[in-house]
Symmetry: C2
Subunit: 472 residues, 2 copies
Amino acid sequence: MLSQDHQDALAAIVGPAGLIVDAADRAAYETPARYAGGVAAAVVRPRTTAEVSAVVGYCVRHGLAFTPQGANTGLAEGSTPDGSGTHLVLSLDRLTAPLEIDVADRTATVGAGVRLSTLNAALEPHGLFLPIDLGADPTLGGMAATNTGGARFLRYGDMRRHVLGLEVVLADAAGTVLQLSHGLRKDNAALALRQLFVGGCGSLGIITAVTVEVHHRPRQSAAALLVPRDAEAVLALLQAFEAEAGASLTAFEGMSRAAMERAIAHVPSLSNPFAGGVPDYAVLVELTRSWTPREGEASLDEVLQQIAGDLLERDDSPLVDALFGPAEKMWALRHGLSEGLRASGPVVGFDLSFRRRDLARFRRDATLMLEADFPDFALCDFGHVADGGVHFNLVRTGPADPARYHALREAVLTLAVDGFSASFSGEHGLGRAFQDAYDRFTPRLVQDYSAAVAAVFGTGSASVRLGPALKS
Amino acid sequence: MLSQDHQDALAAIVGPAGLIVDAADRAAYETPARYAGGVAAAVVRPRTTAEVSAVVGYCVRHGLAFTPQGANTGLAEGSTPDGSGTHLVLSLDRLTAPLEIDVADRTATVGAGVRLSTLNAALEPHGLFLPIDLGADPTLGGMAATNTGGARFLRYGDMRRHVLGLEVVLADAAGTVLQLSHGLRKDNAALALRQLFVGGCGSLGIITAVTVEVHHRPRQSAAALLVPRDAEAVLALLQAFEAEAGASLTAFEGMSRAAMERAIAHVPSLSNPFAGGVPDYAVLVELTRSWTPREGEASLDEVLQQIAGDLLERDDSPLVDALFGPAEKMWALRHGLSEGLRASGPVVGFDLSFRRRDLARFRRDATLMLEADFPDFALCDFGHVADGGVHFNLVRTGPADPARYHALREAVLTLAVDGFSASFSGEHGLGRAFQDAYDRFTPRLVQDYSAAVAAVFGTGSASVRLGPALKS
């Protein structure tokens, strides 16, 4: 519980409405989208960068630990406090100004608390959007802090690729405000300090404003569900589509039968699109273009059918079937996978990332390992094949057992990271949920230099716990 | 001159052929592609990462200053020693292994000394290439260290976007080797330390190996020379092409009349493509696609003509003329600009980068300033409009005068950086030539944090000068 003195001092900075101490009102800030919740000493909600600076400086000077939070939609337990009740949540949800769009520049500058949906709604009349596609509706500050990826990474990349400028507040006694570039696409006039804060998950400071490059919205789209010959053929299929569709290829999403069956069974709006039963594995492929079809130009549907048709005719084709139809229906299946898994049982989620060439071999090795050692967990994986990302998720079918859960987690991560040099956090960032993995798998040298770099920015103080994972 | 003891010790590491002390043999390593040359105490050419580590450790322990060098093609005086004769050049030109291509992964892992042309020749049989397009033939290590941009940035981005992994040797007494990722496209399991070394210009350590993502080569290409209504219309023209051509748009290069006229006059292979005289400003626009035309599909030439034709018919069109023809001829004009300028007189080069919206206004303001204060310099600018990059180059038409040169440089940089928040180094990196600009224009806070971060990696020692610009 926060002392009355601290409460008064913080309320003087952010106004009475900006400080939440009541347990019921705190709950939404204490409960993450995945993993267990924690307890906050209080929630502080500054409205401006100056207020963030004042709050942070006050906390540092008084040794108050705090956790920055955006929309609290993260999947790595990075934005919620632990159970001690001693941490503040520093919520950026009122930092919703500015929201400036520069159409000619194709950039937007927004406060860290602006939601992705809000930005995209403001961009829509200009035919623009920020093409980071994911299930949640995070804040732009949170997206930068976690370096969000998503389903269109293949074409558009991650947040790192879009962030052209950051304003950050450092966790030092002065609450130093640092401006890291002003929206330039090219700038090699200094060390790329900005890049440390992208994906830094608040470990080095608090992002208060973001300038992003945005793109023209596609005006044509076509999608298909592809059935590969087998798991090994998925990569050959991807290569063929990359060669034939080039920059029009905007998604190549793999889905296991177990994941699809659970979605179809448990999400009422979905039906089985496959006439002959759900295949072992399917790929949702999407092509898009920013222009409307020109006179005499083949539609994207025709292009997609032609590429798939040519592949089907090949001897030793990596493709055995292809279903065409409305893109929305196919995306509904893809986006229904997480809900289907959750509805079918307790989910153990992994956000792994591999070199593409290792995907099939890891899946085969992991399947054998799971069948032998963890038959009470059903593998229901899906992921972004083209960028090596795998949501290697499992549904528990047996009784709850924390020791078994930990053994499973250890076994999967060991196989992936030690066996295949995979990342244990492909696109979800570094949260408390990954602290053990960070300690165990991140090379010692990288941990040491990371901690030393964090200390440069004022977050080396043991009394201030900011972000989850860099203290060694 | 390097003492015999040091010579013996370094030759013992790199072999006799790896140490150059003879003045005539040193010359190529002492003479940069732009700006004045320097004098090296010796040139050390390790063949492996282990040798780089041993050399660096030896230099640090004995207080020997050194400058890392790739192909020595940089334009910022970043890879050559100063005139003191006390610095070693640490050349990576023998570090040409490995050269591993993974076609399915669409990545390549190469030693820092591998040249861009060598990599692209090895990728060519697989239909792949590294799409960083520039006039020189740098090493991959140098490209990563300077974060090279180039003429296709618009579509493919800079080196930062392609670097998936780095091996670096730190400038500490142990010559610590740090492996920063292994070629994953997505990895958020640690701070992005790798990003500090990209564009770090050797300030934090020496890049010894690079893993890059590569792309499918285009199999169709079309180009045109566009004549905009006026300078203000260039951005509107760009917006129209971005909207209509989407990801097919791979170049949008602006060229001033003064630059084109000099190229046409001085490069024998070029002729004037414009029937009615060279216009005030022209844009080379290029569309490419990775596939060959499909049945019934419009060729890219037809697409380009259709977009330009639609624009020409518009009231208040930003376009007044468009020339179509072989892409090679148009690129020859674009690539001939630098040679044309050099042949017409002494060049003062600037590698500025702006927000796109500021390009026209800066050009107008700078032109007025130059006409008033520097009539003895002719503005011959050209650049990468879509990413805000401008090679704001001038040709001196009056007598040489170092004081006037410095006044001109100061005036242009002050207007650009103070007036428009531009970068004084868009894509050429940070070399000794920009030390004064770094000291003068890079915000004090950014300089301080950069120096502190450099110190973390062992380069804070005053006795070791590594890279040009981070010592405060």
